[in-house]
Structures are given as C-alpha cells and as structure tokens.
C-alpha cells in the first residue's frame, strides 16, 4: 500500500455519464484484489476543489502490463476534475485499500447483481472467479441498454451476462427476483455478490436468508482518509449481539458480509 504518482494512459467516455480511466501503476496493480479500492487525489481546478481523495474500486487489474483501470461516474467536484485528465497527465493514487471479496474456491456458481457504479466494483470478481474456474452469472441493472457497461468484458472473462433495464421494464424487483430464484433453483447459484443498489441488497438479503446462501456486498460511504484513521466513513452494521454497530467502510470493508450489511437509505 503506497502513494504513487501514476501516468494516465486513457480517460474516455463510456457513455454520457461514465468514463473509463487507465493508469500505469505497476506496484498498485500487482497487489490489488477484487473489491479493493484506490484513493485518488483528484485535481483542484477553480471552484472544483476536492479536499480529500476520492475512493474508486478497481475495475480491471492488468498485472502483466502493470495497469489499473477504473470505471467512474461523474457526480460532483472530484469526479469532474478527474474527468479532465488526459493521457500523459499524472494522477496520485493511494492504495490498494480495504478488504476485498473472499471468493472461497469451494463456490460453484456466483450470482452477482450490480447496478450503476456497482458494475465497476463487481467486474474483477467475475474475472477472478473465471480464473478460479467458478461459474459466474452477472445480472447488470441499468437505466437503459446504453447504460449497461462492461457486458462484453464480463463475457470475455467467462461470465454469463443478463442485462436488465428500466427502459425495457426488465429491472424491477420482481423480475430480478425471478431471475435470481431461477439461478439458484435451476443453475446451482450458491453465492451472492452485489453492489450499487439498496433495493438489490435487500432483495439478495431476503433470498440469501431464505435459501441459506451466503454472500457479500461492497458498500459505499464518503471517505476522509480511506485508511481506517479518521472514522468518517462509518455506517451501521448488524453485530454479533443482535444490535448494530458502526464499522469503517474503508477498513472493515468496503466488502461486508451480505447479512451484516444494512441498506442505508440514501
């Protein structure tokens, strides 16, 4: 884990709100695991003056070429200035940070359900599962077919992809529930991973409890240090004593046990 000045290789639009960033980061790429994140020092430009770094999950890790990839949505100050970076520019990257996914080799079929930026977070899980010979089905939920990102990439690493969208009316809870039930009942789905939607988190918690299937969720919270030092990023989680306690998303997570997580109303 270190602070590294990386060179930007690529930073282009994927659709109208997302960009795909690739940086040269041999050291970071060598060590990052699925679900971990990097804390990016976004540039200060005019009124857009992000004070703290901004957390971004690793979207792809290319250990061979020593490259790190991110897929990010432009939502505010930091991501706005991040979007101005051009190939050749420098980016100060701190990480890898946090606890990633724990993909036991005894899994048979991982069902991942992602929406929005969650797609970025779950992509390396599929890649990792592929390498471990674990079957993966990725249900990608998005506003419209144009917003379904990385389906081709997921297929290329061996995942089966199901795209569901609001505009086609296929993304509602009931429809996704039918899909997931069928994956569990007919296709041996035995582990859930999710990120990016409280609604989908609640759904998988319910189904996981019903079927007795374990799972993990990657949580988000605005961050200060990203390194467990400031306690700014806490959220409530179910604890062993049947109550809830605050845990640091950056340090105890960002990946948490599916049933310990509590869908925060955002």
């Amino acid at each position: 884990m270190a602070e590294t000045l990386c060179r930007v290789l690529h930073n282009d639009w994927v659709n109208d709100t997302y960009k795909h960033l690739i940086v040269d980061a041999a050291h970071g790429a060598a060590r990052a695991a699925p679900g971990q994140f990097f804390h990016l020092l976004c540039p200060v430009i005019g009124e857009n003056a992000p004070f703290f770094r901004r957390p971004m999950s690793v979207y792809r890790i290319d250990k061979a070429q020593g490259r790190l990839e991110f897929l990010y949505k432009i939502v505010g100050r930091g991501t706005t200035t991040l979007a101005t970076l051009a190939p050749g520019d420098e980016l100060n990257v701190f990480g890898p940070l946090g606890r990633g996914f724990r993909l036991g080799a005894d899994r048979k079929h991982i069902v991942q359900v992602a929406r929005g930026v969650g797609l970025a977070t779950l992509a390396p899980v599929a890649e990792s599962a592929g390498r471990l010979g674990i079957r993966t089905t990725a249900i990608l939920s998005a506003r419209s077919p144009e917003h379904v990102m990385s389906a081709d990439y997921l297929r290329s690493v061996g995942a089966e992809v199901v795209a569901v969208t609001d505009s086609e009316g296929t993304s509602d809870a009931a429809a996704v529930e039918r899909r997931v039930r069928s994956l569990v009942e007919r296709d041996g789905g035995d582990f859930f991973v999710t990120c990016g939607s409280n609604r989908l988190l609640r759904l998988l918690q319910r189904l996981g409890a019903e079927y007795g299937i374990g799972g993990e969720v990657a949580m988000e919270q605005p961050m200060g240090c990203g390194n467990g030092m400031c306690f700014a990023c806490v959220g409530s989680f179910r604890n062993d004593e049947g109550g809830t306690s605050y845990r640091r998303v950056c340090w105890d997570g960002p990946v948490f046990d599916l049933q310990e997580a509590i869908a925060w109303s955002t």
């Binding site: 004070f51 240090c225 390194n227 400031c230």
Partner: protein, 310 residues
C-alpha cells in the same frame, strides 16, 4: 548534520513531528515506518465504550474539513489488549490520549493506562463533540487545572494537556494547567463549527456541530500557540493546519517545541515524513544546527517596509 531531537516534558523525541490524536491508526504502519516520527499519538480513549457521532460525519471545504466523529472508544481494557501491542515493536515513544466525563474518571483512566509501553498521557480536555454545544473542561481554566492535578496524582508518566481553541483566553488556560503540573501543552484541538444542508433544511452533520481542522485554521491556532508560548515555560506542541514543513516552521518560530500533524495525514499518509525532511532541509539551508533553536526564533519586523507606522 542537523540535530533534530527535542525534549518535551521529560521525553526525548528524535524529531519534533508527531500525529494529532485521532488522525492516525494502525493503518499508518502499512504506509510508513513509524520509527521515523517523533512520537506515536493514539486516538483518545474514554472509560466507557461508545460508538461516536451518527453519520454524516464529514463536510469538506476547499482548505479544511469539518468532522464530527466523537470518540468511538472501546475502553481502556481493549486499548491495552488490542491497540498497544500494535505499537510495541517501534522505538518511538507512545502518547496515549485520554478523556473522561469527570475529574475522578480522568484520574482512573490515567492510572489504568499508565501501562508498560505508554510514555506519555495526553489529556484531551478539549474535544468539541462530546457535550452538547461543545462545552468542555478545557473551556474553564479551573476545571482544566483540576483534571491535570488529578492526572498527575494518578501516574508517574508525563502529562500533556491538549487545549481547546474555543476560548477567549487560551493563555489563561495554559497557565492554569502549567500551575497544575502539566509537563507540556498541546495547542490546540479542532474549532467548533457547523454546516447546513440547505437543500434539505437540515444540519449537514449527524452531530450538528463538529471540529473544523486543516490548513485554513492555521492562522487562528498559530496565533493561540504564540499567545500560549509567551505565557508558559513548559513546552508547547502546536497542532492546527500543518500540512507542510513551512507550516510547521511557523509553529516552531512562534515558540512551539514540537508539532502535531492531523488532517493532512488523511490526504497524504506520509505527510509527517515530508514535514520532518522539510524542516531538516530548512535548518541546513539556514545554518541552524539544532531544530530546537527554531523554537521562538521569530523576531520583530525590522525596518517596517514604509518607515514609521501609526
């Protein structure tokens, strides 16, 4: 070779740079060698277990941040069992920050935490988030003195008093804790602030108020450190908005013997190393043999730029 060592209230430090309480944790050891800094200062421990403030806990500004963390604490037993061991492998003195709701409880936790491996007890009499409206022991010289006297009676370790900046006359509080036996004063904790989420007509922080810290507070806290250093004989540790060696030099020159780096650790985890290296480089460039010669090195302005002043 610059002699970077300093002595603070009975403890020898290899250099004058340490973290502010609550701005480092075990994670820092993964990023840098904790043997390089002057002291390790741990997050304030309270007698009871507490969760801290409800989120949201943070508002960002251009040059500082407002945080309402509270003191998430798992109590002194947990500290001794779980936190202390993390730092036993370093030869850097460990400063254990404590806080408590009563004078008695300050004494008890001080006694309890005077454990092997703890070099100094820092009294956080200033945390602005614990009580409503930010009232704290540190706002009253008498109450501050009582805390320090009780702590001194409860331990053989040096006691540092960390002051709150939310006062009219910080020098008076510093004098009171000096008289009560404090071995050093840390100046100062975060300044009480708040923010409104105007879109939703509600406070931006779960706790309503929080501590304002970071570079933008430096001019105000630096002025306080200057006032404190002129009022007391014990060493003063400056803490407020230090991000670079230049910032630390301001504190040393107004009379501080050491400095604490806080919020900047969150942005650059190795900020303290840059501050240490930068101070040393400055000393070399200016021919200053011992870093302690910088303490109080500020002199009156010579020849005002325009001659006579009103």
């Amino acid at each position: 070779m610059v002699d970077m060592s300093v002595r603070i209230g009975g403890v020898a430090l290899k250099n004058p740079v340490m973290p502010g309480s609550g701005t480092m944790a075990e994670g820092l050891a993964r990023v840098m060698d904790l043997n390089r800094i002057g002291a390790i200062v741990t997050k304030t421990v309270t007698p009871d277990r507490r969760e801290g403030c409800p989120p949201p806990r943070m508002v960002e500004y251009k040059d500082g941040s407002l945080m309402a963390i509270g003191i998430p604490s798992q109590g002194p037993d947990y500290y001794i069992a779980e936190i202390l061991p993390h730092y036993r492998s370093f030869d850097t003195p460990l400063v254990c920050s404590v806080s408590a709701p009563t004078v008695d409880a300050f004494g008890a936790i001080t006694a309890k935490l005077s454990a092997p491996g703890v070099a100094v007890i820092e009294a956080n009499i200033s945390c602005p988030n614990l009580e409503s409206d930010g009232k704290a022991f540190g706002m009253d010289p008498e109450a501050s003195a009582r805390v320090i006297r009780r702590m001194k009676a409860s331990t053989d370790r040096p006691v540092w008093a960390k002051l709150t900046p939310n006062v009219t006359d910080i020098a008076a509080v510093a004098q009171a804790v000096e008289d009560a036996g404090a071995d050093a004063v840390t100046c100062a904790n975060g300044m009480l602030g708040m923010a409104v989420d105007v879109e939703n007509f509600q406070p931006a922080l779960g706790n309503i108020t929080g501590g304002m810290t970071g570079s933008c507070m430096r001019p105000v806290i630096l002025r306080m450190a200057w006032q404190v250093a002129r009022a007391v004989k014990i060493p003063v540790i400056g803490s407020g908005g230090i991000a670079t060696a230049r910032d630390a030099l301001e504190y040393l020159m107004v009379g501080c013997a050491a400095v604490q780096v806080g919020t900047q650790n969150f942005i650059h985890a190795t900020a303290m190393l840059d501050v240490i290296d930068g101070i040393e480089a400055f000393c070399r460039r200016k021919g200053v043999a011992r870093v302690r010669d910088l303490t109080g090195a500020m002199r009156p302005r010579h020849g005002l730029r325009e001659g006579q002043a009103a």
